[in-house]
């Protein structure tokens, strides 16, 4: 009898310990990776999008609603990136804790300094433009350092007993990113690559951080697939400006670059992951940026030097 109740006590003790871990759902895998690093053993983290998926077009699967229903915190990219799917998931989850405006909802985009904010009025004739600015800040390690800080603050608010733990981890991440960014910047400078063409404007923050400019996109307008006339124009730009490298985000079809390589065999074209998990080798945020820096280095010595 006594032993039974002891077993029961131990069982419920384990249950409550398991339950004590904060349940966090991040919309994108990069924020999930960040939260895993900051929260350590005190959080359970899940990501809605996968690293191989276009974050603009995630489907609001009811199974995500089930996951968000049990969450203590939802971390979103914001800047309208998830506008087509996150509101449906949040409503379907029926979890007041994580509704916008409550401590269980963290919109990281609200506090970052956005780039590419359109001037004047925006129109869909310009393609898929975001009125609040370019939403792909996940490729800037410095801004992600700031995000780490905000994640730690929020985790600490929801779980005060480990707030110092979270803060220390975030500070460590931020410091490491500042250090690594110095090294990455030096390597990109040494590579002599100053211009890169990409498929979509996913690299705006990355290029801005590492001193690269992007004279053209393979998409004629954001969200509009490449057309043959536009590709001819891109070929002209690549040739005239001696651009050495094309990076294609891994959720886009890279076959469009074959036509370009026929005309310009010296241009290097690479398909790259732009989110954690986008490639099985990319397990952490550090891996992600490291791989992208290597991709830029791979075009070293080509084009204008």
């Amino acid at each position: 009898m006594k032993r039974n109740s002891l077993v029961l006590l131990a069982f419920f003790g384990c249950m409550s310990l398991a339950h004590a871990r904060l349940q966090v759902v991040a919309t994108l895998p990069d924020f999930a990776a960040l939260t895993t690093e900051i929260g350590g053993e005190w959080v359970d983290v899940k990501s809605i999008a996968k690293g191989t998926q276009d974050p603009h077009f995630i489907e609001a699967k009811p199974s995500f609603m089930r996951v968000v229903h049990d969450a203590d915190l939802v971390i979103a990219n914001g800047l309208e990136l998830e506008v087509g799917w996150l509101p449906s998931i949040l409503r379907g989850a029926r979890n007041p804790k994580v509704m916008e405006g409550n401590p269980g909802f963290l919109d990281l985009g609200a506090s970052i300094q956005a780039l590419d904010i359109p001037r004047g009025s925006v129109s869909r004739a310009d393609g898929d433009v975001h009125a609040s600015g370019n939403p792909h800040y996940n490729l800037d390690p410095i801004r992600m350092g700031d995000c780490a800080q905000r994640i730690a603050d929020r985790l600490g608010q929801l779980d005060a007993s480990h707030s110092q733990f979270y803060l220390d981890k975030a500070v460590a991440f931020r410091k490491r990113m500042i250090e690594k960014t110095k090294a990455w910047t030096a390597r990109i400078k040494a590579s002599g690559v100053h211009q890169v063409v990409t498929y979509h404007k996913s690299f705006t923050y990355f290029f801005n951080r590492f001193g690269i400019t992007s004279p053209a996109m393979l998409e004629p307008k954001p969200g509009i697939p490449p057309t043959s006339t536009h590709i001819l124009e891109v070929i002209r730009i690549l040739r005239d400006q001696k651009v050495p490298l094309i990076l294609v985000e891994n959720y886009f079809d890279p076959t469009v670059t074959e036509r370009i390589r026929q005309d310009l065999p010296s241009v290097r074209s690479k398909t790259v992951a732009i989110q954690v998990g986008g490639d099985p080798e990319i397990k952490t945020y550090d891996d992600l940026i490291e791989k992208l820096v290597q991709a830029v280095e791979s075009a070293s010595g080509r084009g204008r030097s």
């Binding site: 989850a93 405006g101 697939p225």
Partner: protein, 367 residues
């Protein structure tokens, strides 16, 4: 006088306080955009069709030639931290006339802050199966399945009432919905007494079979009174397999949906036979295949009248659709239908071209 002044000022302060806190709560919001105005959007459905079984009379709502099939104007917004409201007006041709009428297709508020529950009140599309809940612009084909049109009419089961939907605590997604309404449907229900109540229940289940594949199974039923105050009921089931790979998911997807609907109604076919008790059921199954970023190829098979019912001739329809979507906001769809009706010597053919456009706020898509 003094007291009244005091009361007024207290009212003013609380009003200002209310407005202020509303502003604060929404100041940071950016996942849905920055404006305090409701999200406004409009959809247009332009149609050209030519069919052997379709009227040439312009006053018939579905006629040969060009027509504005429907325009929808939608306003949605969070009311406050507790409620969300949605208003959708549909503008379409009035039967028997070439004029257009505006109808409140859906006008409802629903709760945002109840744990596990969503309570909705107003006029809305009832949770009878899957297809009945879709707006015209979101129909997988240009028209609704035959069984839906015959049993529920052009508008579907879209009534005034109250709904409660609960997330069932199971490891998979499971939702149970119960709805109560005043039956006023154009074909099936139609009790003249406003105290007559109809009910709908729906049980929806969804499993992730893999990262790419989901299986959804739903069961639904409904009960209400007919125009002659006689009992009538409906039940239905639906099954959907949806595949979209997590690599290359922008370019390929496959959806297979099957829906069964069964209605028992004393007056369903009195015009043709005078039978006392009549039953009409049917099945529709369709496959939607996205074979390139902007292209969909779809096929549908329908059979109306599964159980022998000599009062109502059975019908078969086969449809093929090719869809081209330049962006999320525009589309062109070409559909061919072959309809064969029991006891009718000649089959009917139809070809239709539909243009779908939406402008305004970016919609959050349903799965």
């Amino acid at each position: 006088m003094y007291l009244r002044l005091l009361r007024t000022s207290v009212f003013c302060v609380s009003l200002v306080g209310g407005v202020f806190s509303f502003g604060l709560a929404h100041a940071e919001v950016s996942i849905k955009g920055k404006s305090m105005n409701p999200d406004i959007s409009a959809n247009f459905l332009g149609l050209w069709q030519q069919g052997t079984g379709i009227s040439n009379t312009r006053t018939t709502t579905s006629h040969n030639g060009f027509s504005l099939q429907e325009a929808e104007l939608q306003l949605t917004s969070d009311v406050d931290p507790y409620f969300r409201a949605s208003v959708l007006f549909a503008i379409s041709q009035t039967a028997g006339s070439t004029e257009f009428g505006i109808e409140p297709e859906e006008v409802f508020v629903e709760t945002l802050s109840l744990p596990s529950f969503t309570v909705r009140a107003g006029k809305f599309k009832m949770a009878l199966g899957k297809h009945n809940m879709l707006h015209t612009h979101a129909f997988p084909f240009i028209d609704a399945p035959l069984i839906h049109e015959r049993l529920l009419g052009g508008e579907g089961l879209n009534e005034v009432g109250v709904s409660a939907a609960a997330l069932v605590p199971t490891p998979w997604y499971s939702e149970f919905t119960a709805q109560v309404f005043n039956p006023s449907n154009e074909t099936f229900y139609g009790s003249s007494s406003s105290s007559s109540l109809g009910t709908v229940f729906h049980w929806k289940n969804l499993w992730d079979l893999s990262d790419a594949l989901t299986l959804e199974v739903g069961l639904s039923g409904s009960h209400g009174k007919t125009a002659a105050d006689q009992s009538a009921h409906l039940w239905g089931s639906d099954i959907t397999l949806k595949w979209r790979p997590s690599e290359g998911g922008k370019y390929h997807a496959l959806i297979w949906t099957t829906e069964y609907l069964d209605g028992t109604h004393a007056e369903l076919a009195t015009t043709t036979s005078g039978d006392a008790q009549n039953r009409l059921n049917g099945i529709a199954t369709w496959i939607q295949w996205q074979f390139a970023e902007r292209w969909w190829l779809q096929g549908r098979y329908e059979h109306l009248g599964l159980s022998e019912n000599f009062a109502i001739p059975s019908e078969n329809r086969e449809s093929l659709l090719l869809g081209y979507f330049p962006s999320e906001f525009s589309g062109l769809r070409l559909q061919y239908d072959l309809l064969s009706t029991q006891n009718k010597l000649k089959d009917d053919h139809r070809i239709a071209l539909q243009a779908v456009f939406s402008i305004g706020a970016h919609p959050a898509h349903a799965y």
